[in-house]
């Protein structure tokens, strides 16, 4: 897939809440391939970084520049939240909703939503009220809903947090397929095993700033900074 979004150029971008800087200033360039994993201790600013890049969190300073205009850029990306936001509709209704927003007819949207549900293993739950799904099923539904419009960039904020091993494996399998199909992934996680399995690039965040940024291979082989090294060893990093 040739993406019109990239390169993404972030210059001095930050997000504040009151006087507190949640993340930033961030300077970053992202190209259109691979899986970027954002790691760091609690409160490092992982979620804020993803929300800032996606445009949900308002910029306090700096700029985020996509290769296309901002409106077009927003249309070409999607976000999966840590606690999946499930609409009070059926599984089919949840999946069809983003397609209906694009103006697709109900029949076509339902047909595509049905196919998407089968792809993630929710095919036999189409009519079920989505709020009553299990945690793993809800996250799979959120992921399928995010992917149904075929975004070029997908943000994932700890999508496997609080899921068991089996559900995590299923989500990872979908992510690997998605990445292989050409969708760019930027994802935060606390799970170092998952980071090693999925990452092609790592962003290590500490106190709201990018502390280390490099290829996954290099990072996991030997981080440059003492803090990243300590974090990988499981030590408490502040």
């Amino acid at each position: 897939m040739v993406s019109k979004l990239f390169p993404l150029v972030v210059e001095g971008a930050s997000v504040r809440r009151g006087r507190k800087v949640l993340v930033g200033p961030v300077d970053l360039i992202q190209e259109g391939q691979g899986v970027t994993i954002v790691i760091g201790p609690n409160g490092a600013g992982k979620t804020s970084l993803l929300r800032m890049l996606h445009g949900i969190a308002r910029l306090g300073s700096g700029s985020i520049n996509w290769a296309c205009d901002d409106i077009e850029a927003r249309r070409r990306q999607a976000f999966v939240f840590q606690s999946p936001i499930i609409m009070r509709r059926s599984v089919l209704g949840n999946l069809a909703y983003p397609l209906r927003l694009t103006g697709m007819s109900r029949t076509d949207a339902n047909a595509r939503a049905t196919a998407a549900a089968h792809e993630v293993g929710l095919g036999d739950m189409l009519a079920r009220p989505a709020p009553f799904l299990s945690g793993g099923e809800r996250q799979k539904l959120a992921l399928a809903r995010a992917l149904i419009t075929k975004p070029e960039l997908l943000f994932l904020d700890e999508p496997c947090a609080s899921l068991d091993g089996r559900a995590t494996r299923e989500i990872e399998a979908i992510l690997i397929r998605t990445s292989a199909a050409g969708t760019r992934l930027i994802m935060s996680t606390h799970d170092m095993g998952q980071a090693r399995r999925l990452a092609t690039e790592v962003l290590f965040l500490l106190n709201g700033k990018i502390h280390e940024h490099g290829s996954a291979e290099q990072f996991f082989a030997g981080p440059e900074t003492a803090q990243a090294n300590a974090f990988l060893k499981g030590d408490i990093v502040e």
Binding site: I56, R75, F79, F81, I85, M87, L101, R128, P131
Partner: protein, 234 residues
């Protein structure tokens, strides 16, 4: 006590014999109330959703005023509508005073703030759940309001039923603007007030029981149709 038993038996008798006057008054009550409810819902539900979604300078004041208007005195509303539609009033030329239309207008004014306020409370919670998702999906404000109204429809039913309850039991305003004219603007509540004034407590109680029965029946019917109590629904 004797009056209550007498009222019950009279209500039973009126219902069993399908008394022509009772049927006419009941149908008029339903027609006026349901029309007012539909119009009020068409105004109040999108307004409630708009107030949940949109941030603007006077938002807090608007919500506070809306909440305050929930306690709008019906007689005062009736008086204001009367002044507006009386022959010398600004809308006097329409000739709507002492017609069911004037009664509907008064009821709409009374129940719209109530429905909007309850709808806003329910949709505010839903909006806090949906906020990030709908922003992320790049939805327009109209699409957000539509999503809230559709997904919050069962909570909004409560708002509509509250409006129905207030409207069907309303007497002050519709007495003033409707005039309680026999075969024209007489409804259950005004008929009860009239019979009480005449000292016919049994008939007044009978009509009262019919009113209560009708209110409960409409509530149950709406709950049944919308299947709010079904297992596995939200």
């Amino acid at each position: 006590m004797i009056d209550i038993w007498s009222g019950l038996s009279q209500a039973f008798w009126l219902l069993v014999t399908l008394d022509a006057d009772l049927v006419e008054i009941t149908l008029r009550s339903l027609r006026v109330t349901m029309t007012a409810l539909v119009i009020a819902c068409a105004i109040a539900l999108p307004l409630g959703a708009f107030l949940a979604v949109r941030r603007f300078r006077a938002r807090r004041v608007t919500i506070a005023v809306l909440n305050a208007l929930m306690g709008l005195p019906p007689v005062v509303v009736g008086l204001i509508v009367y002044v507006f539609f009386s022959r010398s009033g600004p809308f006097g030329v329409l000739g709507l005073l002492f017609t069911p239309t004037a009664m509907i207008i008064a009821q709409v004014i009374i129940i719209t703030p109530l429905i909007a306020s309850i709808a806003h409370q329910a949709l505010r919670e839903l909006w806090s759940d949906y906020h990030d998702l709908l922003i992320s999906m790049n939805t327009t404000q109209r699409q957000r309001i539509q999503a809230l109204l559709w997904d919050g429809r069962r909570a909004l039913l409560t708002a509509a039923l509250a409006g129905f309850g207030r409207a069907i039991g309303e007497v002050g305003a519709i007495m003033v603007v409707g005039g309680n004219i026999d075969h024209h603007t007489r409804v259950l509540t005004t008929a009860i007030a009239l019979e009480t004034g005449k000292g016919d407590f049994a008939l007044a109680l009978g009509l009262g029981f019919v009113l209560i029965f009708m209110a409960i029946a409409v509530n149950l019917a709406i709950h049944y149709i919308s299947r709010t109590e079904q297992e596995g629904r939200w």
